[in-house]
Symmetry: C2
Subunit: 281 residues, 2 copies
């Protein structure tokens, strides 16, 4: 990590803290910014950061990279705060689960030219835990990080972000923000919402016969409601598209079952099985 | 298992084979009936049965208990076959995943009186594997078996079936066939169908960003299409009710997201999380 000597992480929770831990092992100075003294103290205690700040001004001014790891809805506010502070050549990235709205906010603040310091990232790692006390150096390892550069972002700058995540042990891939958000809606956000809906359908008595299948299908429903509210709020159009796709598929399936078209039901299930068996490891 | 000395299992696959293995450890004679010599040979080889038969006549005549472990769609045919063969006081049960249609078939063949030898069972155990070679004595252990007696089935007879499953290490509960089938539609059959639908929604490129959440949500889609076609075919009305409930919930959620009602989205997610955290272990 030759060029990146000082990183500021705004929002030192599970992901921010895990990034900090790996960076510090690599002798990078890590400053943590947070709203609550208690989380910052916890982050210091577990060795996720070198120094803690309630205000980002001081650490951002000397950082080569600033990482936003707060809820996506807060990004525009932070972009405006750090804009006048950033040192020349510094890069700003994030760990947000949606990218379209994030990139729109960055464009509003910095424009669409090659000098926009923001390059969106979505490190796809996490678990049910919250807070820096759960941060580990293995959380990001071998997971995929999607990077969504602007059309005009200089290749060399993109490469620095790619290398940054690779040095943390991650795989990387590049997508446009729109492609990322529709894919995420289909394979992550819709599954989350449906998992919650499935959890609410049965009466209490029905749950007596719930087995491992139901447990698997509803695991996502245990996720943090605030975080998911934010994800939904910043990815509305792709999520609605995905919901419509599912409602359409559900309605079609309903017709097949209602008309007793057993052959078509079996064909549909066989197709899904083949796809699951070959595409998902 | 004082009273049950000889059991015939029709259909010696994963479940039938696992039942056979436990019974044989308990010195119960187990006869296996199947359509294919190869499966019967495999069942003999792994010690799931004592003797193998392509026709059920001979073993059924001396059995205290006959267990149907073939696809539910074949039951009525077997009921008619075994009716003239059953010894006095013998009980017939099954391992089918739906109960309404099964009980209707039993009523057609034996009537609704106290002499109907059939008491439906649904041992809720299984995994992705098929065939007697995967049978284990631990498959059923501690899992739940739902028993669905007819209104007129003598209590003592029901108790024999309860004891039978308890001796195999299972928990038991009693429900009406209709209650069982609606519960199963909500917590098992609908989840299965939606898991398959979820698997078919994304484009190939979307799967690049699929992570553990998607893997969990689509695990059920890997199930055997023939078996699930049969389950769907024998539980159409409850499954359609459950699909309608989900389509309604999905449509409501779509409106909340489309109108930007973030508070209501968060409330819905928080409710689902609380229910998941408290009701599912």
């Amino acid at each position: 990590m030759a060029e990146i000597k000082h990183v500021t992480i705004i929002g030192v929770g599970l992901i921010g803290g895990s990034i900090g831990k790996v960076l510090r092992k690599d002798a990078v100075r890590v400053s943590g910014v947070g709203r609550r003294e208690s989380s910052l103290k916890a982050a210091l205690k577990v060795g996720a950061i070198d120094d803690a700040h309630l205000d980002c001004s001081e650490p951002v001014a000397t950082s080569d990279l600033v990482i936003l790891a707060t809820p996506v809805g807060t990004f525009e506010k932070y972009f405006r705060q750090i804009k006048p502070l950033l040192k020349r050549g510094a890069i700003v990235t994030d760990v947000g689960s949606t990218k379209g709205e994030v990139v729109r906010s960055a464009r509003k603040v910095w424009g669409s030219g090659k000098d926009n310091p923001f390059i969106g990232s979505h490190p796809m790692a996490g678990n049910e835990n919250k807070g820096p006390q759960h941060a580990t150096i293995t959380l990001l390892k071998d997971a995929l990080c999607i990077i969504t550069p602007l059309a005009k972002t200089p290749k060399a700058k993109v490469q620095r972000v790619v290398n940054f995540w690779k040095n943390l042990g991650m795989q990387t891939a590049q997508m446009t923000p729109a492609a990322h958000d529709l894919s995420a809606a289909r394979v992550s956000h819709l599954p989350h919402l449906i998992s919650a809906a499935m959890m609410m359908l049965p009466a209490d008595g029905d749950l007596e016969v719930a087995a491992t299948g139901f447990r698997d299908m509803t695991r996502l429903a245990g996720g943090d409601p605030e975080m998911w509210r934010d994800i939904v709020a910043t990815n509305r159009k792709p999520i609605i598209k995905a919901i419509d796709e599912l409602l359409k598929a559900g309605t079609k399936l309903r017709t097949l079952i209602d008309t007793g078209n057993e052959k078509a039901v079996e064909k549909f299930l066989a197709k899904a099985k083949t796809r699951r068996d070959t595409k998902i490891s």
